[in-house]
Amino acid sequence: MSALDPPRRAARIGCWLAGDHHVHTQYSRDGRHTILDQATRARQFGLDWMVVTDHGGPEHVRVGVIRTAPDIAAARRALPGSLLFQGVEWNIPGAEHGTVFVAPGARDVEVLQQFERDYDGVVRDAQAWTPDNEALAVAAIGWLGQQVDTRRVADALMVANHPARQGLDSPHEIRGWRDTDPRIAVGFEGAPGHQAAGLPRSVGPGENRGYYGRDRGTNPNSFLPYPQEAYRTWGGFDWMTATVGGLWDSLLAEGRQWSITANSDSHEVYLHTADRPAGRDDESYFEATGFYPGAVYDGVPNPTAGDFWPGQYSRTVVGATRRSYRAVMRGLRDGAVWVDHGHLISALDLQVRSCAGDAAPATLGSTLQVAAGAEVEIVVRIDCARLPHAGGEIPRLNRVDLIVGAVDVRGPDDRDAFTAPHTRVVRSWDTSGAAGTIELTHRLGRVDSPLYVRVRGTDARFSQVGALGAAIDPHGPRMDIPGDSDPWLDLWFYSNASFVAVTR
């Protein structure tokens, strides 16, 4: 299903809803906080929606998935207006982790439990990278689509989490999930969670940002062609997304939407003061019970914890038709999404329009349809941050980059391709000192063949030439330094892509 053919009719964006689809609780072996705690923090940090995604596994499929539902119901009552979804962090057979969640309904626990029982890589001992396990992952996506078709659930989504972290998600697997059912497998995390992990040892964990500290040769299931730099974050973002002309762009260059997100992966929050109660805090307790008791206050801030609360640092902002569960899911699917760190910006609007004004403009995630030779321009409107972020400073947006890529709907010959040779940064704006609403316009000129556009911006404290060279990306994000990556000093936002389809 190409973004171009037939052209996507844009859903009218009625509101922008910030959220997080990767949050752990007491129902994860490595978690501790209650659902109410995570949901309360999410709300405090300005999130409109949140997905509870505890790890799939033998305890969760038996206990956690069931107990989660009434806890979410109670949290919805306590926090009216918050959209709280039930999901799971799926161990993708043969691959990494993925968020799977459903639109709330009477049968969501039943569907999620069956999904985990039949398709979770830990529950099914299907984590090795074999053709059979790849097929199981594909079958899982197909099954989720069937649950929607048969109306057992109103909607379901899968977003692959921290995809490059251990090199476990090969390009052809990603393409396979997408092609099996593009309504269900809609994207991956552009930035992982664990964003406090790179704080220096003097104040924090002193580790690799995002806990991306692996290398080639440490997991036998890794896709071997991924280069060494794929195993690190870049300005806090995953290499697949951060690399202009990289894997994300190679998917967009097929004329297919693929949404990126940014989430907390919140397990254990930097400087948190509540933890599992003593004596009921180890894995043997979790294995026996299926969960930990909710965290209790112990008065000791923990500086070795590498996560943030949902919304405290990372946000996935979805353009939705209205404030509802279904609309959030639809917006994620459509790619009407931008993400940021440190609340770098407060609003973003991307329009791609025909200069002749003879076609409906494309908004974020949608497609402009023009005749060959039409003059096209891009207009980006950004509301600069007015409030301090949770680190205590009003963030400064110092540079915005426009990235444009050519589209070839035939797709690559090699389904393991992870570069898009015709994507590059075409324009950069120095926005230092800007305040209020800024409007940036770029004329693409005559468009004769399909393309896509996307934007990113930064506080520009750190940059280096992109992995594919200066002609592609002269001022890209810096490869993060373990123990020296203060997340508050390296802020980025990314938009998803809008497309231009050309008729002859």
């Binding site: 984590q127 990278w129 074999t130 290398d215 080639r216 040769g217 299931n221 890794s222 730099e229």
Partner: protein
């Protein structure tokens, strides 16, 4: 030589676990001065269930085993210290024909280790001469002098100057590149380089 422990290999075993397990077994068969020269690496084999195979190399002109003695010693370990499903291949450049032992399909895997080690262009080295001396902050020159590491390179592949300081963090795992033992580093805090691969990184 190459070793493939076969399907009974623990899927959760780290490459260090496997390399040290093989080192332990070989040390039953070989004297300490031979073991001191051994370079033990793991290589990824993605046939069947992906797993690591282990190579053990004695660089030319160092004291090493007699292949006939070694294979006899290792055959005795199969089913004891080595899983019964293991396969072993020993080759000796310019020497006698390769010796093989053990499960036939694991022998194929062991050949992978041998050929990768012979090609010298990939493999994660876990055991090597001087590894124990690489502790604390050392210059590139000191690292090269103290161990079998030939050079230190950054992510772009550039070789570092002798004077660059590395915080070894007590965890140094070089790679085979073009028949050289190369330690890959990245920038770390306080202006020091650190090994690219970090210990305790599974999350």
């Amino acid at each position: 030589m190459g070793v493939d422990l076969g399907p009974s290999q623990d899927a959760a075993a780290s490459p260090d676990d496997l390399a040290h397990a093989v080192a332990e077994v070989v040390s039953h068969c070989e004297p300490a001065d031979h073991m001191a020269n051994a370079v033990i690496a793991t290589h990824t084999r993605q046939v069947g269930i992906p797993h690591f195979v282990v190579s053990v190399v004695w660089p030319a002109a160092t004291a090493g085993p007699d292949p006939a003695t070694l294979i006899r010693g290792l055959v005795a370990e199969i089913g004891n210290a080595l899983p019964a499903t293991s396969g072993i291949v020993i080759t000796w450049p310019g020497g006698p024909d390769p010796a093989t032992a053990g499960d036939r399909s694991a022998v194929v895997g062991a050949w992978t280790a041998v050929t990768r080690a012979a090609a010298g262009d990939s493999g994660r080295i876990a055991v090597f001469p001087g590894e124990q001396r690489l502790r604390g902050v050392m210059s590139v020159a000191e690292v090269v002098a103290a161990s079998g590491i030939d050079r230190v390179a950054d992510v772009s592949g550039s070789v570092l100057d002798d004077s660059v300081l590395i915080d070894t963090m007590g965890f140094v795992r070089p790679r085979w590149r073009a028949h050289r033992m190369v330690l890959q580093i990245q920038r770390g805090p306080d202006g020091l380089a650190i090994p690219f691969e970090r210990e305790h990184m599974l999350r």
